[in-house]
Symmetry: C2
Subunit: 163 residues, 2 copies
Amino acid sequence: MADLNKLLTPLFLNEGEIRKIIELLFFSYRDFTEGPDKILEKINFGRAHHRVIYFVGKQKNLTIKELLSILKITKQSLSRVLNQLVNEKYIILSVGEDKRTKKLILSKKGQELEKRLSEIQIKKIRNVLLKFNEIDINGFKKILYHMVDDKNKVKFDEINNNG
Amino acid sequence: MADLNKLLTPLFLNEGEIRKIIELLFFSYRDFTEGPDKILEKINFGRAHHRVIYFVGKQKNLTIKELLSILKITKQSLSRVLNQLVNEKYIILSVGEDKRTKKLILSKKGQELEKRLSEIQIKKIRNVLLKFNEIDINGFKKILYHMVDDKNKVKFDEINNNG
DNA sequence: TTATTTAGGTCAGCCATATTGACTTAATTA
DNA sequence: TAATTAAGTCAATATGGCTGACCTAAATAA
């Protein structure tokens, strides 16, 4: 059984090769978040704050509900992080047209922090991609997209106006 | 300045495209860890336990020191997780040739859990890769590898005998 | 041979990020 | 008017990290 499976599996799909990908995902994700994490630590913030700042910066006038649906955490979890960001004036709240909702936008201070954090990751990715041709990059992007669950592909398309 | 930069940046390297990759990394990594996390929760373990089980399973007779150098956490952090795994007989400790060191191996129980957890991730990746050709897959693997910091590339090569 | 370094262990306390459950208020919609 | 929705809050709990201090035993260097 095991041997038959090995015979039928193309080399690039065998367990050993896939385990390498598992490890690369672990190592690369850890290295990917390291830069912003260090900056955040200095101002007593964490990765959760970066996520909030990132998506609020991306989508102006995001509501709490929409933000929760992207982050997929409970509102109690979001609450602490968001309150800190609002109290320290990185994020400004205003009432939406539907007066039950609130709109979130980055202040100037928030935009500056967002830029500082994301720039590290953008540069890191750009430096990597510069070493490769468009064929490789397309393979990377396509496969990464398909690694996302269907429900979250929809969410990704939504926030990138690919819907 | 900004305009000049945009003119000089190929379309696939512009900020918007790179931000999509940032988001895909976030979404895909979250979905990637979700399956094992659910199983681990039932037995009161977490992702940290999976990591330990994974690397102990990968590298027979791993020492504590080597494990720490892969995980890059403090020994105090590892301690709780590892003690639980040893107490509940997923991992067996033995004294190394250098009697200061300890060798870690998975018990049968540990191997079974490791398989159950990793199989989810392996299947997920295999199902994705099956939709793509070798050119795309190579692009994906190469770029993922380059996303890892140099020091950790060495670590990756070490544990995969590419050194 | 003694001194130092290394591998591993442990105690205590702290912080960040997440969870569940219960409950409230105000606004909108059926 | 009743039900639903968006947002907020209080409390308790779990996980996974961290720092600092300190210990033992074994190996290695001076």
